[in-house]
């Protein structure tokens, strides 16, 4: 397999992760499952950034920094997601997104 084909294959895997994560984040009713979908999307971003570093610009640290940022985004998303889940559950016993539609237009 040529290098370009390998890069394209890895990026296709990343695109599949983004697609699956998007489906999960949009379709799930449980707040925790929505967060899992978002994590899959960020997982795909991490894979794409890692592949871009190795196959395109290994002499620059930028793509590695993107992986670090994706990791941080994942940690922040999970911490804030669980904090918000606990807060809304404590206030109203809500654990599904369909029950928290106050801002729905």
């Amino acid at each position: 397999m040529s290098d370009q084909t390998t890069l394209q294959t890895v990026l296709t895997v990343a695109a599949a992760l983004v697609g699956v994560g998007l489906f999960g984040a949009l379709s799930q009713q449980s707040i925790v499952m929505v967060m899992m979908g978002l994590e899959l999307v960020v997982n795909g971003v991490m894979l794409g950034a890692g592949a871009a570093w190795f196959f395109l610009t290994p002499d620059l640290p930028d793509a590695q920094m993107l992986v670090v940022i994706a990791l941080v985004v994942m940690a922040v998303e999970m911490a804030m997601g669980f904090a918000a889940t606990i807060a809304i559950y404590r206030a109203r016993q809500v654990d599904m997104v369909d029950m928290a539609t106050d801002l729905h237009g």
Partner: protein, 194 residues
């Protein structure tokens, strides 16, 4: 003589791990048990960590594997706390607008894939450094320090916000809206004054 960037075993490993990652990613939304969904997500992350390992990103691979293992362990606890069917003893789907969501996910995948396979990717520029971790460390402490400063402030804000959101009773609950109560209104008397 092999003149590709990745050796053949590494390419096979990347493809297999990529397939495992996508497969377990799909399993997250298919299995009935929330605990199983959490661990399917963990498998997906560990497979991606394996791919990063094959791509010479040793430090990031190890960080990903360790961080995600701990994160999923914590997540499993929350899943069991918040879900009505944590053990998967009965079939369960909790979805809304499943068909529309699947269409959006599929269209996103197809659009990205078409872009990936029709782009004329540039060839590799430069060589990877002898120590990729050192490259990242020097960037963090040098040319990309602003990124780490922003990340640090963001994480600190997350700590504060998480604590505030998770706190059941704050000072306004204890001392009134104007914070003028002389004695705190606690469920159990004996709280310290301000």
């Amino acid at each position: 003589m092999n003149d590709t960037l990745l050796s053949d075993p590494a390419v096979i490993a990347v493809v297999v791990l990529g397939a495992v990652s996508v497969g377990s990613g799909i399993a997250v939304f298919v299995v009935d048990s929330m605990a199983r969904a959490t661990f399917a997500l963990l498998v997906s992350f560990l497979a991606i960590a394996g791919v990063l390992l094959a791509l010479d990103l040793v430090y990031l691979a190890v960080v990903t594997a360790l961080m995600m293992t701990i994160e999923m362990a914590i997540m499993a606890v929350f899943m069991i706390m918040f879900m009505m069917n944590p053990a998967g003893l009965m079939p369960m789907t909790m979805v809304h607008n499943g068909r529309g969501s699947a269409a959006v996910g599929f269209v996103a995948f197809v659009a990205l894939t078409v872009g990936i396979w029709t782009t004329d990717w540039p060839s590799r520029r430069g060589q990877p450094p002898a120590d990729t971790t050192r490259q990242l460390g020097e960037a963090i402490m040098g040319s990309h320090m602003l990124v780490m400063l922003v990340v640090g402030i963001g994480l600190f804000a997350t700590i504060l916000s998480g604590t505030i959101l998770a706190t059941g009773r704050g000072r306004y609950d204890r001392f009134g809206a104007d914070l003028r109560a002389t004695r705190p209104d606690d469920p159990t008397p004996g709280g310290l004054p301000r």
